[in-house]
């Protein structure tokens, strides 16, 4: 803990750790001193303790893991390593996709829209990609459109190129970061640097 005086928000941010028993000694001492004169935090702490109790009860209630699951986990993986050339494509729904269906969806879209000059290159790129990669590209493109509509041809082409590039990145795994995969959801998800950037950009905009 730093020696700077803490503002109220910083005390609030200690409450969750304190309620879950994870706050260190110095933090606990500081917070307890604060709680002596802050009824709001006192009330919040009681609520948080209740939440922690319920979380513990839910944990202890059992999670329905089939018997023998952990014993078989690694042997199953080894079996899939030796038995399959292609890596498993994650959730079961990908396995439901007919091998060419997703490619057809994407290539069909390519065919119906205005395309950048190397559209033949795109078609062959799509043909080289695995089904799961094409559907990843498709999903990632759809996610970027607010209402789930299909994006412009160039944006879709960009998604395909990114998926092909990310295949290479997978070989050096560890490059992916939360930031790459997790979209901004609310302003509260912004880091302080990003918030500064946001505020700077807001300053340059016109409002009337």
């Amino acid at each position: 803990m730093s020696n700077e005086p803490m503002d109220h928000k910083e005390f609030e941010h200690l409450l969750a750790d304190y309620a879950s028993g994870m706050l260190d000694q110095s933090g606990s001492d500081l917070l307890r001193a604060h709680l002596d004169h802050c009824a709001v935090c006192g009330e919040r702490l009681q609520s948080f303790r209740q939440v922690m109790l319920e979380l513990r009860a839910a944990k202890e209630g059992g999670q329905g893991v089939p018997a023998g699951y952990f014993e078989n986990l690694v042997p199953r993986f080894r079996a899939s390593l030796s038995g399959q050339k292609d890596r498993p494509s994650g959730s079961g729904w990908f396995q439901l996709v007919p091998p060419f269906a997703a490619a057809i969806v994407v290539i069909g879209l390519i065919g119906t829209q205005q395309f950048p000059p190397d559209s033949d290159g795109l078609r062959s790129l799509a043909a080289e990609m695995e089904v799961s990669e094409i559907t990843d590209a498709y999903l990632s493109e759809i996610e970027q459109q607010p209402m789930g509509s299909i994006g412009a041809a160039e944006a879709l082409a960009g998604s395909l190129r990114r998926e092909a590039a990310s295949r290479q990145l997978l070989e050096q795994f560890g490059e992916s970061s939360l930031e790459d995969l997790a979209p901004l959801i609310t302003v509260d998800d912004l880091g302080s640097d990003e918030l500064d950037v946001l505020l700077q950009r807001l300053k340059t905009r016109t409002y009337l």
Partner: protein
Amino acid sequence: MNRFSVVLISAVLFPVLLPAQNPMLMRGPAAERIEQFKKIRLMEELKLDEATSIRFFARYNSHQEELRKLNQKRNDIIDELQILRRRDVSDAEYEKTLQELKALADPAVELRVKFLNEISEILSPKQVAEYVIFERNFVQNLREIMREMQQQRRRGGGR
């Protein structure tokens, strides 16, 4: 602007400085900073003097709080609908809760009209129009910037 006015304006502009019981504290810190920027910019755009600012933001804060409560009520009712679904209740039960939801439509409109009437007492019609335009454009600008930053993150140009 004398020191007293600065303190008074600050207290109205930035309720976060008020005692901890202020419900504004329920919002995240990022949203509050953005709200602070919004208010300062609004003052500049509408060219509000200190007296008018104080009166305007007193009404504005009160309006925001009423909007928040209405929104909370709406969310509570929708959560109730979810619970009803899980309990597999009769149509009559659904109807009752849906009526509560519909009943919120008029208060929402009334709140907005009431606020515009209140600020019309202290702003000129041109300023009221400018406020309405500002609100709309602020939300649009914020959304666009969030989208740009999201795309930047994906391209690896973020943080």
